[in-house]
Structure formats: C-alpha cells, structure tokens
C-alpha cells in the first residue's frame, strides 16, 4: 500500500480531518483511481475503527467523528467516481426517527456504524413524516430503510411506514429494519418488518444481511 494511502487511513483513525481531506486530494491528484482511494483508504480505515470499537479500543464519539470525515472525503472523490461509467455502487440505506419522536441519538449511532461497513447512508433526521420517507424511497431507491422509535406512542409509526410502502407498491423493493429502546423482535414480526436489532453492532449485522439478501 502506498504511504499516502496509509497516511489517509491514519488520519481517519486519529480523527485528523484536515490531513484526511488534504491527503485525499493529493491521492486523487497523483492519479490514483477514485475506487481505490475509497475502498483501500477510506473504507478500510472505517472498518478498522469498527473492529477497534467492537473490542473496546475505540469509543463511539470516535466512530461518529470518523464517519463524518469519511463523508467529507467522499465528496472529494465523488466527482471523479461519477465520471466513470463502470463504477461500483455501494448499497444505499435510508434511516430516520419516525414521526412524533425526537429521540435521535440511537439513530445517529446506528447510521454512523452502518457507514463503517460501506453502506451509503441517507439520514432523514428525526420526527420524519411517513410521506417524506416514501418520497425518499422513490427518489433514492435504497435497499434498506432503518426506522428508529424510542416512545411506545411512536412505535406504531413504524407500522404506518410499512403500510404506506405497501400502498405505494414499494414494499417488495426495499427491506425494513426497526429499532429503538421499546422495540422488540416480537413487535418487528407483528408489523411485518424484515429485521430488528437491539443495538448498533447488531443493527450493522442485520443491515448487511438484509442488503445482501436484497442484492
């Protein structure tokens, strides 16, 4: 691996945004393929951070910060990537905290962790109306929708989203995963969700499983 690629990884792992952005640009200028920068540099670093987090060496704020740097580095390589016809596209996922619910911490963490395994995550935010989710599905055509609900009174919104997907004829095109403190596997089964996860690492595992099935 080139030294520059290594220092890109190092910069992401140490949350040094300035260096990460600079090196990404240098790599691109040096003529390296954008896919290689993305995969061997940026994604590799996030995967490593995910591994470190799993064994307790890295903490969540580092993962979330690195995921942010990843996104801003992506913006640098993206134009070059889009210019290529044969680009490999990563799987898209939409995540949101459902309507009426302002708890977004869990959703943010799950979103950041999903990025560490190479998913292209679109975060619609909190208190997101069902219609907005349906619109985003139409526009982005994701493989996965992740819905977070922290209140017993907003859990039914997860079911409403699934119903709305059915009504819009989109249900078979996308997998739905649900989570949040009061949500259980039983609830997920009852409302016809495809997956459930009690925490972020499990959410990542389930997301990968679901996007691969959908592939």
């Amino acid at each position: 691996m080139s030294d520059l690629l290594k220092s890109l990884q190092e910069a992401i792992l140490t949350i040094d945004e300035e260096t990460a952005l600079k090196v990404t640009q240098e790599l691109l200028d040096s003529g390296m393929e954008p896919e290689e920068i993305l995969e061997s540099g940026m994604t590799e670093a996030l995967l490593e951070l995910g591994r470190r987090w799993n064994c307790g060496e890295a903490f969540l704020p580092e993962v979330v910060a690195a995921a942010g740097i990843f996104e801003r580095c992506s913006a640098i390589v993206e134009p070059a990537l889009m210019a290529k016809a044969d680009r490999k596209v990563s799987d898209k996922a939409i995540i949101a905290t459902v309507k009426g619910d302002l708890h977004d911490l869990g959703k943010n963490i799950v979103g950041a962790m999903m990025k560490t395994v190479g998913l292209e995550v679109h975060d619609l935010g909190k208190n997101v109306p069902t219609e907005k989710i349906i619109e985003a599905v139409k526009e982005l055509q994701p493989k996965l929708i992740g819905l977070s609900a922290l209140l017993t009174t907003t859990m039914p919104e997860q079911e409403n989203v699934i119903k709305a997907l059915e009504e819009a004829g989109l249900r078979s095109a996308v997998k739905v995963m649900v989570g949040g403190a009061p949500v259980t596997q039983e609830w997920a089964d009852r409302i016809g969700a495809d997956g459930y996860a009690p925490n972020a690492p499990e959410a990542v595992r389930v997301a990968l499983e679901l996007t691969q099935v959908a592939a």
Partner: protein, 493 residues
Amino acid sequence: MTPEAPSIRSLPRTLQADALTPAALEAVHAQTLTVLEEVGVGVGGEAMCRALADAGAEVDLSTKRVRFPAGMIEKALERSPRTYVLAARVPEFDLAIDGQHSYLAVDGCAAEILDHETGERRPSTKQDLAMAMRLADALPEIGILWQPMSARDMPRKSQSLHELHAQFANSGKHIQMMTAVTPEVARGVVEIARVVAGGSEALRRRPIISAFECSLSPLMYEDGALEAAQVYAEAGVPCGFVVMPISCATGPATAAGTLVQSNAEILAGITALQVLVPGAATFYGCCATVMDLRSGAAACGGPEDLYLQMAAAQLARNYGVPSSIGTFATGSKIPDWQAGVENGLSGFASVLAGADLMCGAGLLFGARVYSLAEMVLDAEIFNLLHYLTDKSAMSLSDSIAQVIESVGPGGHYLSDKHTLQNMRQQWMPKLFDRLSWEDWESAGQPGPQELANERVRSLLSTHEPPPLDDGVEDEILRIIDAFERGDGGNEDE
C-alpha cells in the same frame, strides 16, 4: 395547610454540602448567561418566538433562535415564587415546597415492567400503572406521583389521560405529569384535574397536579413544550422544566460543561414561562447523565451524575427556585448491588444538595424498566436518609453523662432504663438483612429483590386507596372518551 403533612415523610434540610465553590458557582452562572445571550435557544413555535421578542429577547424568526439578555433572566427569576404548595386530592398529602424539605417522587416513565410475580420483563399496561399507584399510596416515603410506566394497552392519543385516570383512582397523592407534553393533551389533563379538584378555581387554589416540560438538548424547545407549559400555568398548575442531557452526546463531554448547558436550558424555560404567565409556580429540574462510551446508552448512576445532581440543586437554591433533581436512576437491570450503591449514593447526594423534589423511586436499566420491588427499596433508602436528617433522633440529651456514669466502666446498657426508654428511636430497616446466618439459610437466603417482592405483595394485599367522590370517575372517563373522539382538549372549554 400543615407545613409537614404527617402521613408523608419528607427530609428536613439539616445537612447541606455545596459541590460548587462560590467562585465556581459564579463562573457557571456567567458562562450560562453568555450562552443564553450569544448562542440562544431554538424555539419551535412562531407565536412563542414573537411573545419572547416582545418581552425583550432578541429573536431571529427565520432560524427560530431566541437570545435572552441577562436582565430578562433575572426578572424571570424574581417573578418565580420560592415557595408554594403542591396540593393533593387528599389534603393530608399536601406538600409544602418551602426550601426546608425534600420529597420523593415515583419515577417515570418506563415502557416495560419487571413483573414482581413472574420475574418477567414485559410491556406495561394501565393495570400495572394502577397497581404501582396503589403501592405508592401505601408508602409514606412517596410524596409525588410521576407516571411510572406507560399504559401501553390504551389508545395512543389518550394514553396520558388514561394514565392520569389510573393515578387519581388509585392514590390521593400529588400527581406530576411528565408525558402530557403537547398543548392539546395538557388541556385534557387540566380538564380532568378540574373535575377531581372541584372546578377551575378549586384547582387554581389547590393544584392537585403539576407538570414539567423537557428541553431537547442541546438548547431546543420544540414541538409545543412551551405552549403546553403555558396551558398548565394559565390553569394555575405549577409547571417546571426538566432537562435530560447526556454528556458526550447531547451535552458537552465534561460534567461542568453539561451543567452550564443544563442551566441555560432550564433558565430559558423558566424565563419563557414567566413572560407568558408572570408569577407562575415553576421549578428547576435536572436529570443529567453521561453517555456510555462503548454502547452509546445513557449510563445513569455514575459519579458525574452525582456531581450534576448536587451542582444543579445548588444553582436552584442560589436562584431561589425549587428544584427537582434526578435521583435513584440506577443503570442496573435488577435490584442488586449496583442498584444499591448507585441509588444509595444518589439519594445521599440529593439530600446534601438540598433538592426539593427527588425523582424518583423504582426505575431500573437507565429509566427503561419499572420495578415495584425497586420502588420499595428506594423508599427504604429514603427512609434511612430520613433518619439521618432528622435531628431529633440524633440529638444529645444533657444528661447522658449521668446515664454513662450509672452503667460505669465494665457494665452494660442492655436492660438499662435509658435503653428501654430510647431504643425505639433506633432505625429499624424493613428490607436490610440482619438475620443470623442460620435463619437466613432457612429462609431460603433471600436477597433484596425477594425481600422487596414480599413487601410489595403484603402492601398490595392490604392497602385500599382513598376512593374518588361519587360520579368523578364517570366524568373522567367521559372526558377521555370525548378526547379520543376528537372533541376534547380544545381551548376555553
């Protein structure tokens, strides 16, 4: 109104410790004013923004950002009453919020219950909530009722009203609403409380309920929270502001940093309320904790929490506003060693800090699971602290040298007259194990949870809560029914 209602145990304010030095307190206050003046607070409603602008706040309507000048905050604090009464349906349960007593609330609002009969963790129901209220009614340590868990089997729209119904029907104590956080539901709550209190004026004179609103940390009041506070205050119902920031996630990484942000959010809420309803009874609430760095969960129970409890209560004392301080919120999953340590220290911290309200008893797993066993165990901790703060039990009688002399070196106090006269002053635990090893073995080696479950069963088998007046329950159900059909919760009913 008696200053200390006989049937509710309160902690007299006889011990006090300050977490912040005078200089630190001043620094926290100064930085808070800087945050309020320069950063400001996000306020959802446009009408609310305009009202605050009229009162002197600098408001950017395009971003809904409200910046508060220091003078506005000071004026609001002056307007906030230092003392008031949280009345109860049964007048003997009235609570004097007078800066001299601490009261314990039932905590809220879990989504699940740890069933004391089956040991199973399952979604909570209105029936569970009713049972918890009957238990709380029986415990003299409990002064205030939050909604300990959600009535998940009730319609979503009217869930809070069903919870209030179960509370009024099963206890005569003061109720504090934590889930009725939109103006519509707040109006439904007020309507029910008026029926129970005997009319609007009666409720205003004797507020048998109170409420609080939460900020959305960092620095936001969204989705009708301030509007709901206004509904309560206009009806004469005290309404506080309780913040729940999590250090490293929704609050700065340092405990002191989270304190400044919390202070800013609470003062912003109180200031908005005093603009809308000058002189409204309010309180200063803080349930701050840290994020567990591995899982991201709210940790609940560590040393940072203790510091934040003490410092927040000290700030409230300093501002002259009653405080409601997050207490007893163990992160543990069962009533075990961790729960005992965390809640024991947490209770002590709130007592030392001079919290007016301590919220509260019975939650496990970082506020997600309710346990009746944990409620009686927390009440036992409170009881222990009651003993410690009750100076009469610890005071020295002048004649003790004579008593010691009469026994003399090498004697014993076992059957001494002084012992026989005074021994009943000793604290008698209900749930601490002091059995002999043999007795403990033959009792099946009960742990705290088993002992507590036993007490829960025994209290529930005997306690009858004071009934509601004739016709009141029907009227409550009628209001809920109208609310469900969509014609309740309207203005000026």
